[in-house]
């Protein structure tokens, strides 16, 4: 499917700030599964935007604004042709070890123990996802970006990030390497999170969305993957100044019919 996306982050400051560094992971992940037809990033106030690839292969756009300003906007937009989210790759033991947001609690270990006999990675992830839906209720705003799998599980509610962290934790406890994915999804007005798990026989990473309890298809755009949310954070910033900040993020993803691509304005 060909998807047109736009992701706008606007931060307003109650009093002017300066010496502002930012680092964004909101451009699509470069891979054979996602062909980037067009893409564009821009910032206001105007500044140099540098691009790098981090240790996970994610695209990082970063920059610096020295002068005083009371608002900051960053836009990422483009056109991506998405195939199935199946990523070939070697096994990486890093994704078997716990990370700060996915370390297991006794309750999660007990749950993993019940899954012990499941064979096949796909069957496992489906069982995990079903189990999560038994224990966790989706309640928007019930957790924040610092909430661990353990904490979300204990309170019995969470958002897509928590569903993903718990699924990753359980996969790893069952000996299946798993990683966190941040991205966009058709019809979603904000970023979404899902998981990729390693299918050892095929030497491939397959994607599953535990929040919606279904396999990830070509209506998803992958931005970044990592051990947990911390490796994929959409927006990081450091600046000097006092005062409060208000952040507003809007995402839009629409399907573009192939015949219209040439004429599309993005």
């Amino acid at each position: 499917m060909v998807l047109k996306y736009s992701h706008i982050t606007v931060i307003t400051f109650s009093s002017p700030i300066h010496a502002h560094s930012f680092s964004m992971r909101c451009s699509p992940y470069q891979s054979i599964c996602q062909h980037i037809i067009e893409e564009h990033v821009s910032a206001i106030p105007n500044c140099n935007i540098s691009r790098n690839t981090d240790f996970m292969g994610n695209t990082v756009d970063y920059g610096y604004i020295d002068d005083y300003h009371d608002s900051f906007a960053f836009e990422s937009r483009g056109l991506v042709s998405v195939d199935r989210h199946i990523y070939p790759g070697d096994f990486n033991p890093l994704f078997l070890y716990e990370s700060p947001l996915t370390s297991p609690s006794a309750a999660l270990m007990y749950l993993a123990h019940q899954l012990g006999s499941t064979t096949g990675e796909e069957a496992l992830i489906r069982k995990i996802s079903d189990l999560i839906h038994v224990h966790i209720q989706y309640v928007s705003g019930s957790t924040d970006v610092c909430t661990s799998a353990e904490a979300a599980f204990a309170q019995g509610k969470g958002v897509c990030q928590d569903f993903a962290h718990i699924a990753i934790c359980l996969c790893r406890l069952c000996g299946v390497a798993a990683r966190y994915v941040n991205g966009y999804m058709l019809g979603e007005g904000q970023t979404h999170a899902w998981v990729e798990y390693y299918v050892a026989d095929l030497k491939e990473w397959h994607a599953f969305d535990p929040t919606n309890n279904k396999a990830v298809d070509d209506t998803y755009i992958k931005l970044a993957h990592g051990r947990d949310y911390n490796d994929c954070c959409t927006n990081h910033g450091v600046f000097r100044g006092a005062g409060d900040q208000t952040i507003h993020v809007s995402t839009s993803v629409r399907e573009v019919l192939r015949g219209n691509i040439i004429n599309s304005t993005i």
Partner: protein, 439 residues
């Protein structure tokens, strides 16, 4: 050969006080600066001993650098079964963010501080490798300067190697990795750091800029130094005296105020060199120490010249059995602690403590290493006008650049307390000059 110098001990210590040769320590949340007491009796290393040490130290550091290159790229030493994967991935010093990137000119540890002791039989043993930000070179540097001033005759009579070239060695290494001939800086967290004296002294001696975190910023894929009148200069190499986790709030500890935002991106793009590189902690982890002689064989295909203290890893069943049976005579170290903390002697433990430690060794075997207690040579010091024996170690400095070089000197630290075996300066104690004889 140093009797004239001894008469000048007080003069030298007064000079040191005047020059601010201090060591800061944090105790119970409070910062205190204390003088680092200097003992004028030098440690003297014979020429023959030094020749062997020099070759052994170069070999060890070359192997450690080869290990770091391998561990963040191919990991062949893990694939070949020499080091278990668990020792890498669960090491606190392992930084996954460094995966798949090799620093400019392939050097990770530009300045290595290798801690050694000499056993009663004369044999030297390595106790610890320090590859992150080893400090201490400035103390013997200034001590030699001041002792030469206080007692010039001592140095015309003695045939020892002049050690006043450390700053030059440091500078050569920085020049070698400097990206596109940029500005060279030493990055200090500021005057409340325990080694601030050293940072400022080294910057002065090596003739590089002493920079504070606020002086540096990242723009357009490069690091800049904010000079006077807003004139910015591109930085090519940063000898940082700040630990990895505080260096860039965007990649590591987000609350750090000591770092430079987005520095890590510039580093990974190869646009600035960091001395020492990021991620070195995986190689000087106390758990990895056990494997260093194996690294020498694996990477260099040579027999290790320097010995480790006999070490046991409870991770291995056979070693665990030995440690549990012999805990009373061993020294136990917590691999996640540094600076002389987390070191426990079995002979000092109460029966309850022994029981507790045995339990921890069984349940958290990866967390501990155990070593035989080495009877190392005590050195003479002057304490209240009397000559007494104290435990001492030697931190040798190895500098890697175009070639690997060993500084013909080092920091000899001793315990002031006659009962203590721990000579880390964070725990109190003093230092000596280290003389290497040139024939």
């Amino acid at each position: 050969m140093y009797s004239l110098l001894l008469k000048q001990t007080d003069a030298v210590n007064r000079w040191m006080e005047r020059y601010g040769v201090r060591f800061g320590i944090y105790k119970n949340g409070e910062f205190k600066e204390q003088l680092f007491p200097f003992d004028a009796i030098p440690r003297i290393i014979s020429h023959a001993d030094w020749q062997k040490l020099e070759v052994g130290l170069k070999q060890r550091v070359d192997a450690l650098n080869a290990f770091l290159r391998d561990v963040y790229t191919e990991k062949s030493i893990v694939k070949d079964g020499v080091i278990p994967a668990d020792f890498i991935y669960s090491s606190k010093g392992y930084l996954p963010q460094c995966e798949g990137f090799e620093p400019y000119r392939g050097i990770y540890s530009h300045i290595s501080g290798i801690d050694l002791v000499q056993a009663e039989g004369g044999e030297w043993y390595v106790l610890e490798d320090n590859l992150r930000v080893p400090s201490g070179a400035s103390y013997p540097m200034i001590a030699r300067d001041l002792t030469r001033k206080a007692s010039p005759e001592t140095f015309t009579d003695s045939s020892l190697i002049d050690n006043r070239n450390y700053a030059q060695l440091l500078r050569e290494s920085m020049d070698y990795v400097n990206v596109d001939n940029g500005l060279e800086v030493i990055l200090t967290p500021g005057r409340y750091n325990s080694a601030y004296f050293e940072h400022s002294y080294l910057a002065e001696k090596a003739r590089v800029v002493l920079a504070y975190p606020d002086d540096l910023f990242v723009d357009n894929g490069h690091v800049y130094y904010k000079g006077l009148n807003n004139k910015s200069e591109r930085v090519g190499v940063i000898y940082r005296r700040i630990s990895d986790e505080y260096m860039d709030p965007m990649t590591f500890e987000p609350s750090s105020l000591l770092g430079v935002a987005n520095l890590f991106e510039v580093y990974r793009q190869g646009n600035v060199a960091i001395v020492n590189a990021f991620g070195n902690g995986v190689a000087d982890d106390k758990g990895l120490y056990y494997f260093v002689p194996k690294m020498v064989e694996y990477y260099l295909n040579e027999k290790p010249i320097l010995k480790n203290a006999p070490t046991y890893l409870p991770f291995y069943e056979e070693d665990r059995k030995y440690v549990l049976e012999n805990l009373e005579k061993l020294v136990l170290k917590d691999v996640s602690e540094a600076g002389g903390y987390g070191v426990m002697f079995g002979r000092d433990m109460s029966p309850e403590k022994l029981k507790e430690m045995r339990h921890l060794i069984e349940t958290e075997s990866r967390r501990w290493i155990a070593q035989e207690v080495i009877n190392f040579i005590d050195l003479d010091i002057i304490d209240n006008g009397e000559k007494v024996k104290r435990k001492a170690d030697l931190r040798a400095f190895v500098i890697s650049g175009e070639q690997t070089k060993v500084w013909a000197s080092g920091l000899t630290r001793f315990t002031r307390d006659s009962k203590s075996f721990i000579v880390n300066s964070s725990q109190g104690g003093g230092f000596k000059d280290t003389w290497v004889l040139d024939k």
